[in-house]
């Protein structure tokens, strides 16, 4: 078992003839954040639903806090909380009533429920609206309440299914702050996301899922280092200069873009190397319009691994 709170091996799940998960392995170490990253339809949600006992896998084994999700679902339920893709809060109750209801269902006493509700509503900045019906809330407020509700019983393992999908940038930032804060309290988090930036920012480990299979696993840095190092992108004012540069640089050009009249060469990012490059262009009488140093992003990793064009 080691240090892993969540551990899954060879998980498979099909719906009809569609294989949603095809032998997924996953592990999350205690007190860390892992991200399940992938495009829509990659199987992220199904994986989380299996780990939270809502869906039974066709094959494979999964344990949460040492409890088997198929054989001991009740045990698993006692240590997890699930925050789904759509805010699962009661629209016709107030924030406070939602909190108290979940506290009671989570076997907290009346007094403890009240205390925790007050504490979480404060922390999630919902105190002023706690007496309002949830149906009057904005998307961001709902998500915050959703998360607050799921935390009332202090679950040590938290599953977040696309916690910021559909949120505006500011609400997203708030959610990120909240999630980072949670980690400081020692909980273990598995989140799914289709945003590379989100995985990069929040997760210690990233598992890249595509078409129901794990296609890469590691820290954000490890994934980035799988790609070539930095690149210097040169762009030219006209086609004549661009063509001359193409001829001159030959195979050392990593990629060429005739439409934008730009090409990229490998670079170590040092000033000396950039100066040499520009000197060489000058000697050949090729006018360079701009030069741009680029570090590979997770997007690049994602594209090179999945072959999917991401917006």
């Amino acid at each position: 078992m080691g240090n892993d709170v969540v551990r899954a091996t060879g998980i498979e799940k099909s719906y009809g003839r569609v294989k949603v998960l095809d032998g997924v392995d996953l592990s999350v170490a205690k007190g860390t954040v892992s991200a399940l990253l992938g495009p829509n339809g990659a199987g992220k949600t199904t994986m989380v639903r299996i780990l939270s006992t809502l869906v039974r896998p066709d094959a494979g084994e999964a344990t949460v806090a040492g409890h088997d999700v198929v054989r001991e679902p009740e045990r698993v339920k006692q240590v997890i909380s699930l925050t789904g893709q759509y805010a699962a809060v009661d629209e016709l109750l107030t924030a406070e009533e939602n909190m108290l209801m979940m506290g009671r269902l989570g076997r907290l006493g009346r007094v403890e429920s009240r205390r925790r509700a007050a504490e979480l509503l404060t922390r999630f900045d919902l105190v002023d609206v706690r007496k309002r019906l949830v149906k009057t809330y904005s998307g961001g407020m709902r998500r915050r309440l959703d998360l607050a509700v799921s935390l009332i019983t202090r679950p040590p393992v938290i599953f977040l299914d696309e916690p910021t999908t559909g949120l505006d940038p500011r609400s997203r930032q708030t959610m990120w702050d909240i999630i980072s804060e949670l980690v400081a309290f020692g909980v273990t988090i598995l989140l799914t996301t289709q945003y590379l930036e989100e995985a990069d920012r929040l997760a210690d480990k990233i598992t890249l899922l595509d078409g129901g299979k794990v296609i890469a696993h590691g820290t954000a840095e490890e994934l980035k280092s799988r790609l070539a190092g930095e690149q210097a992108e040169l762009s030219f004012a006209d086609a004549e200069n661009f063509d001359k540069a193409v001829v001159d640089l030959g195979d050392s050009a990593l990629h060429r873009d005739p439409e934008r009249r730009s090409l990229a060469v490998a670079s170590d990012g040092s000033a000396a190397q950039v100066r040499m490059l520009l000197d060489r262009m000058e000697e050949r009488g090729i006018a360079v319009a701009t030069i741009d140093l680029q570090r590979p992003s997770l997007d690049d990793v994602f594209m090179s691994l999945t072959g999917v064009e991401r917006s």
Partner: protein, 254 residues
């Protein structure tokens, strides 16, 4: 300990549904206004032309009460469908609770909602000249029959809510319940209908309930209607409860 937890969960979830009642004011009004409008329509517009051998308002009120209760109970379908569709059911299911207590919560709330709306409808009926002859014991018996009726229809509605793929589909079901009472002895004596309809109206389960309530409140002959009503709706109650439990398990199948 287990039992007290189950009780705690049920009480909590019933509380949830009871809180919904005053906040779902449109559907509560709908459940009251529709029957009241119908009652006024039948008593003052059609009533003069319908010969039932009694004061028509007395004849029609038991039918209106049933219509009101049936329609009100069928709204449970929409509420259940809502829960199943909007994701809150996953939240309940990821908790270590008896998640089918969610359904019980809806049925209890339906009973309370119908107690309120039926009381209101009876109040309006009195204003329109309804004069029952029942003793308090007969009133109690009538209430008991109505509770059985509402509980049975509520569980049937739970089943429909569990089957419905959308909220609209669920609300479509409720209309069936609003129209079923027309083809019964609710508004006109069944022997005035064409043979086919007459046969259906005479033997459909709502007719014995209406006849029983009418007999209890107004002293008309009940015959074997009471037993038929209890058998029908006792049977429907048990069957739909079992079916609802099954459908809930299937819908939330892992």
């Amino acid at each position: 300990m287990r039992l007290s937890w189950a009780l705690n969960d049920s009480v909590t979830l019933i509380g949830r549904n009871l809180r919904h009642l005053p906040r779902n004011i449109e559907s509560l009004l709908m459940a009251v206004i529709l029957p009241v409008m119908l009652m006024l329509l039948f008593v003052y517009v059609f009533g003069g032309a319908i010969n039932t051998g009694t004061e028509y308002v007395n004849y029609v009120v038991p039918g209106i009460i049933l219509l009101c209760a049936g329609f009100g109970a069928s709204m449970t379908a929409v509420n259940v469908a809502n829960d199943m569709l909007n994701g809150i059911i996953d939240r309940f299911r990821s908790l270590p609770i008896l998640s089918s207590a969610v359904l019980t919560g809806h049925v209890v709330a339906s009973l309370v909602r119908n107690a309120l709306s039926t009381t209101l409808v009876i109040g309006v009926a009195f204003l329109a000249g309804f004069r029952p002859t029942a003793t308090w014991l007969e009133w109690l018996a009538a209430v008991a029959v109505l509770v059985l009726f509402v509980a049975a229809i509520s569980w049937v509605s739970v089943c429909l809510g569990l089957i419905a793929k959308s909220q609209d589909a669920a609300s479509g079901f409720t209309f069936a319940f609003a129209f079923l009472p027309y083809v019964s002895s609710a508004f006109v004596p069944t022997d005035t209908m064409p043979t086919v309809l007459h046969g259906f109206a005479e033997h459909q389960p709502i007719t014995p309930v209406i006849e029983t309530v009418r007999g209890l409140l107004l002293g008309t002959p009940i015959g074997n209607s009471a037993w038929l009503a209890i058998a029908w709706f006792g049977g429907i109650l048990v069957a739909s409860y079992v079916l609802a439990t099954y459908l809930f398990k299937r819908r939330t199948a892992r």
